[in-house]
């Protein structure tokens, strides 16, 4: 049955227990891990060794794309596709092009930020194995959970389970796939 497990989950009573345990998990060399808490824990990123998100760079690229699309679109429309003289100005009048280009910069950045965030979080996820543990529902209320996934390189059922038990959790669960 081992191969069918999604991972091994431990339940903790307080956020500091969770953070302490997360540090030990990281130091033991596990990388395919995750933590669940009813509220944001700023220390957990560092404790679990979670890398900084690449989202800001994607948003920056989104913004640049928006800026270039904005200028490109107006250039195409006003210079090639349908040139009209407005107020005696040249077809390519940069000052007038800046507000729409700016709006597209914001729009593209915002789209990349929202949809990029969802994508990088693996959302939408209609099914996730962690909910096979009935007590996991408490992660939205008062309990703190830590999971080591079975796809982790260091994962070995017996060893990992006894390691999890050594972290002094309230309970350890097998999470079925």
């Amino acid at each position: 049955m081992e191969s069918k497990l999604h991972g091994i989950m431990a339940e903790f009573d307080t956020p500091s227990d969770l953070v302490d345990a997360a540090r030990k998990v990281r130091d033991a060399g596990y990388t395919k891990t995750d933590a669940f808490s009813p509220f944001p824990l700023h220390e957990i990123d560092e404790a679990l060794g979670i890398k900084r998100s690449i989202l800001p760079y994607l948003i920056f690229c989104g913004g640049i794309t928006g800026l270039l699309s904005g200028i490109g679109l107006q250039y195409f429309v006003h210079v090639f596709d349908w040139p009209i003289i407005v107020g005696g100005r040249p077809h390519f009048s940069l000052p007038a092009f800046i507000p729409p280009a700016y709006e597209l910069t914001i729009l593209f950045s915002a789209f990349v930020a929202v949809f990029g965030m969802l994508f990088l979080n693996g959302l939408p996820a209609p099914y996730h194995p962690v909910f096979n543990v009935p007590r996991f529902a408490l992660a939205t209320r008062e309990k703190f959970f830590l999971i080591i996934e079975s796809k982790d390189e260091k994962y070995d059922y017996a060893e990992t389970r006894s390691f999890m038990e050594s972290l002094a959790p309230q309970e350890v669960f097998d999470v079925e796939e």
Binding site: H42, G87, A96, I98
Partner: protein, 405 residues
């Protein structure tokens, strides 16, 4: 409650104070000689120094009221720097006297020489007469001085409180005052900069003018505060107060105001460009030709684009030294921005071809002269009070905030 003696200003400020006075004193002498030889250029350069440094004084007043209204950890840790900057007010009034004399004696500002039958002068009537210009300046100073006096008074009172409840009462009074006072502050700034800066060009006008200075002075104030605090962040007592998150927050405010400055400037440009009316476009035409055009492009690149891209990065904002280097760079660009507003305007003496690019040695000396004296006064004020409002009810929380993630 916290003990105020733990937060006395460090002795290193005394050395900075002497340095500032030395540099300022020498520059004032040089400026004095230059002004004796060419009074108009001397006063134009003095205005450049005055509008930049007085901008930090009045910008600090605005930000001081803003942080009373919004709250937040950044406001608690920079409050004493802001207050010390506002208390340079008596000096700013003194520094204004050469400008008042210049207008009274018709030495600079082209409008002091225009004939009375000039249509715009005739229309504006008594508003554009030297005596009324000086009376208005006195009114602006009275408004600013009143706010500075009250806010600093409450701050002293807060330091004398014994309990959290008393301290909270003082804070609430300052916050309640700051809301309505902010309205009068923005109005006074608008009228003042129209008189002191926009009137350099007697016929031109822009409704964006006041906002340009509200945003620009706010930016100057944040850059100045970051510079001072970053240089104190390694010495006691500020090493126990400041954390990387405080600088992160101040860096975000610098980013916001850099963008607001660019936004207001572009709005003004776009409206005038789209309107395409001769009485408005002359101002930009003079500033897009020859040497002034390069200054304008320089401002777009180094007052906006470069600081904007650098400040987008989170890591940069969290390192006090890096942020302070950029803050000093922006402060220099603020002077260039003021130079760009003053430089191309018409001269009374008519010695230069209209709109020709020209920079005088006094344009460099006068900001140093005003700045040296201003900083000497500022450091003196900074030494007088504890470095942080340690009795503020939110003080501990604000310190803790800086050391989080």
């Amino acid at each position: 409650m916290a003990n105020l003696d733990d937060y006395q200003a460090p002795a290193v400020i005394n050395r900075w104070r002497t340095l500032a006075l030395g540099a300022g004193g020498i520059a004032v002498l040089a400026w004095g000689v230059g002004t004796y030889m060419n009074p108009e250029q001397g006063l134009r350069s003095w205005l450049l120094g005055f509008i930049f440094w007085a901008g930090i004084t009045f910008g600090s007043l605005g930000v001081l009221m803003l942080q009373y209204l919004t709250g937040g950890a950044w406001g608690v840790v920079i409050r004493r720097t802001l207050e010390a900057a506002t208390r340079t007010f008596p000096l700013v009034v003194l520094l204004f006297i050469p400008l008042a004399i210049g207008v009274w004696t018709h030495t600079f500002f082209e409008w002091t020489h225009l004939p009375a039958d000039d249509p715009i002068m005739a229309h504006r009537g008594v508003y554009m007469t030297p005596w009324f210009w000086i009376v208005r300046a006195a009114i602006y100073f009275a408004v600013f001085g009143f706010m500075i006096y009250l806010l600093n008074g409450w701050s002293v009172k807060q330091d004398k409180t014994e309990t959290v409840e008393e301290s909270r009462l003082v804070l609430e009074r300052a916050s309640r005052f700051s809301g309505p006072a902010m309205v009068f502050f923005a109005l006074a700034v608008t009228f003042a900069v129209v008189d002191w800066m926009m009137m350099l060009d007697a016929h031109w006008f822009s409704t964006m003018w006041g906002l340009l200075f509200v945003a620009g002075w706010g930016l100057s104030c944040f850059c100045f505060s970051v510079t001072i605090l970053a240089n104190l962040s390694d010495t006691a007592p500020m090493n126990r107060v400041l954390g990387k998150r405080h600088f992160h927050d101040l860096g975000k405010l610098m980013l916001a105001l850099t963008m607001v400055w660019a936004y207001f400037n572009f709005s003004q440009f776009l409206i005038i460009w789209a309107g395409n009316l001769p009485e408005e476009t002359t101002w930009y035409l003079a500033r897009m030709k020859g040497g002034w055009g390069y200054v304008g492009i320089g401002l777009i690149l180094f007052h906006f684009a470069f600081p904007f891209l650098v400040l987008l990065q989170q890591d940069f904002k969290r390192k006090a030294r890096w942020l302070a280097s950029l803050a000093m760079f922006i402060l220099v660009m603020r002077i260039v921005d003021m130079f760009y507003l003053i430089g191309p305007t018409d001269r009374v003496s008519g010695t230069l071809e209209q709109g020709a690019f020209f920079i005088s040695w006094m344009d460099i000396v006068a900001p140093i002269a005003v700045g040296g004296i201003w900083l000497w006064w500022f450091f003196g004020q900074l030494l007088k009070r504890p470095m942080v409002p340690a009795k503020d009810p939110y003080f501990e929380e604000a310190v803790e905030h800086g050391h989080g993630h």
